[in-house]
Amino acid sequence: MTTRWFGARVQRIEDDRLLRGHGRYTDDIDEGALESVLVRTPYAHARIRSIDVTAARAFPDVVAVYTAEDLPFGNKDLPILIPHPNLTHGRTQRCLASEVVRYAGEAVAFVVAENRHVAEDAAELVEVDYEELPVVITPEAAARADRLVHDDVPGNVAAEMIQEVGDVKTALARAPKRKQLRFRFERGAAAPMEGRAVWARWSTAERKLTVYDSTQSPTSIRGGLAVLFGLPESSVEVIAPDVGGGFGPKIMLFYPDELLVPFAAMRLGRPVKWTEDRQEHFTAVNQERGQVHDVEVGYDAEGKVLALSVDFIHDAGAYTPYGIILPIITAAQVPGPYLVPNYRVRFRDVYTNATPTSPYRGAGRPHACFVMERTLDAIAAELRLDRAEVRRRNLIQPDQFPYDLGVAWQDGNTVVYDSGNYPALLEKALANLGPRPAGDHVGMGLGLYVEGTGVGPYEGAHVQVLVSGKVVAATGIPSQGQSHATVWAQVVADQLGVDVSDVEVTGGDTRRFPWGVGTFASRGAVIAGNAMAIAAGMVADKAKRIAADHLEADPADLELTGGQVRVKGSPDRGMPLGAVAVLANPVRYAFGGGTEAATQFAGNARPGPPLQEGEQPGLEATGYFSPPGSTWASGCHAAYVRVDPETFRIDFLKYVVVHDCGRVINPMVVEGQIEGGVAQGIGGAFYERLAYDESGQLRNASFMEFLMPYATEVPPIEIDHIETPSPLNPLGVKGAGEAGVIPVGAVIASAIEEALGIPITEMPLSPLKLYELSRPS
């Protein structure tokens, strides 16, 4: 194998289509589809007395109106995707609510019409009589449990989990110094530029359901629909076409529309389509980040952490379809790159009358990082030590890998850091940050993090060399912008010795590759990338076996390069890969493209049956990669931030990132991921806040009021890499998708705290919040 493409700044193969406006997103697909609208409750908590759809059904050009009683699965709770023994009171919503609604935006009825205008108008005619119930909206109120979100969930507690490594009580008692701190995060939203959309068609003649869905997991949607409708999986095709950003919430399944649109298409015998509008995206798509953390830390006079106890509440929202993955991640990621010899963490996952939660880029980690980094800053301040020095004294050292943290991880194993060099990250970031700029109200912020990436269970890939010599490759996971078509092509091209432009990649289309899990948790490059390498490697081996017969050489003496299989050291003794593809499929009937070379009278290179025992026709292979454990990426961000003491606007004077995701397949792509992540982190730290009022209404459900950063708010980011290859996969890679987001809140808080001399213990901030914190109380 040559490594010509791995590590190169290969420009993106997918760009041309997208730049010409030829991308194909779910709402771009029409084909005469009926259009649909969900009727959603405006109340955060209410009992449904009655639903009257008579007027809506009678409205001209309305084709169908469904409520729970019209659905064969209307009385079934939607699945808990990730059950866990500690999730003792898991609850999920029904596809359409008929008894109680528990968050504003929960779906009640589904209207299908000849076009969207009619559907919207008819939705207005659905009469729902509600009896309002008391609302629980903050995690603190949920934990007090004066009111309940679910009558049968005492204390509003869905799950409680306690983990301890070492003996925290004793270590705290013995620690020379102790500190108690509280850190609070509010909810944020991923807000991809493309909202969600679903299109479905049922073919009665073929008994086949075809679904286009802007999902991060078409294979799981396929599995779920097959079970729901009692079809073999081979009768259900799910395609995530171009997806306009995901950032987590599109991994959630099933949103009600993901069942209702296929159901209606089957029932009505016509294609049906549903496209979300931005307002309903804000209330009906999963959110994240609401957590309150109480911390007690014991440390010595040198600033070394001796014991850490963290007790936090996770705001689950109204239901727990995604299980307790988020608080599990926070619990696992608080210690980060630091040695914490005694660590106890307890969380309670509590119900509120807000939109359910599931991972949003960072997924429990920004909060975990904030807790640890703010705690270290507090220790540094108390001891009047340099913040970098306190970190230096607590970092796990390069000779301590693999490092077993001893707490539970989201893949079912315990957290074991596979490789890393945390001191190098810190020193490089400090060096790149350079001297402090002149001027008042300037603060320096610093934050290190680790990120568990590349979680299992597995992904697969299919790679085939066509008789033209071109290569097609497919995997189950879709892209939402992560450049899969380019980086998989790089991996495959190296294995097969072809040009990267000769490899065409398909992802997220169950017709091309039916198995797999999904795009989440920074796992694409690690899991699907290695599956691609394995499948392509199998194809390369097969090409050598077949070519060896015809070149009268030993397969071990052959190499794949320049689109040829040839004898090493004898460039003239070789054959094109396309010709090997022809020979890989012994035929009776030639069909062009050189296939006459593989017919029965073309002469046989070796004795025996045309298709050798154990071989399959075609120069193709399917390979899978299932990791023994997760890969742990890491990094350090540092910044100088100026705060205007009058307006409390912030200005980034410099922002540096040093990042380690193991071996880098394409630095351009990784840097793009990091730049985008930092921007999202800045938004989440200083601009974006989901403002729920006491009645559970989201008061800023539009881009006018939920302020995402424009170019004017995001500074240039200076990025540097170190590489500690992962020992857990053949490519040595780790994930990079979420890294940019994780420490940004901690870095900005640290910088603002220094610039203004006020304690920062919460996220997100805003100019108004800083003004309030700065006022003498």
């Binding site: 420009q11 010409r20 406006g21 530029m193 493309e194 997806v243 992540g677 881009f703 995001v714």
Partner: protein, 151 residues
């Protein structure tokens, strides 16, 4: 109205948005809809040569006017327009959903300022949201597009 140089009949439905008309009546799905309230800029087209939000306009308002969408910048099979080419070279797109809007804004910006200053670039793209790139690569792409446009 003229769309990408060709005449089209007036839209039938008076409450059809220009963005929906382009996408669903004319099949020009390169114009994307991200918010339908004029903030994200995904639906930006050129309206008589200047960038405009097609989601804030009724299709009937475009009668007698010239609309250019992303599909109108270059012929199929022809090389990319310099702004498209610059976005490609600078990795100024990831998921591609905001990209047509950005490209149309930048085409408008460069028509007005062929050699934009850093501040003009910032202002020229400050009406478009991107959730993927963090904008640094888009800023670089504007500078590169200016170079390519001037040959």
């Amino acid at each position: 109205m003229r769309v990408n140089g060709a005449d089209h009949p007036a839209p039938v439905d008076p409450r059809r948005l220009l963005s929906d008309h382009l996408r669903h009546d004319l099949g020009l799905t390169g114009t994307h809809v991200g918010c339908e309230h004029g903030v994200c800029g995904c639906c930006t087209v050129l309206f008589d040569g200047a960038p405009a939000r097609s989601c804030l306009m009724l299709a009937v308002q475009a009668e007698g006017h010239e609309v250019t969408t992303i599909e109108g910048l270059t012929e199929d099979g022809a090389p990319l327009h310099p702004v498209q080419q610059a976005f490609h070279e600078c990795h100024a797109l990831q998921c591609g959903f905001c990209t047509p809007g950005f490209v149309m804004s930048v085409v408008g910006l460069l028509a007005q300022h062929p050699e934009p200053t850093a501040q003009q670039i910032e202002e020229g793209i400050s009406g478009n949201l991107c959730r993927c790139t963090g904008y640094a690569s888009i800023r670089r792409a504007v500078t590169r597009a200016s170079e390519l446009s001037r040959g």
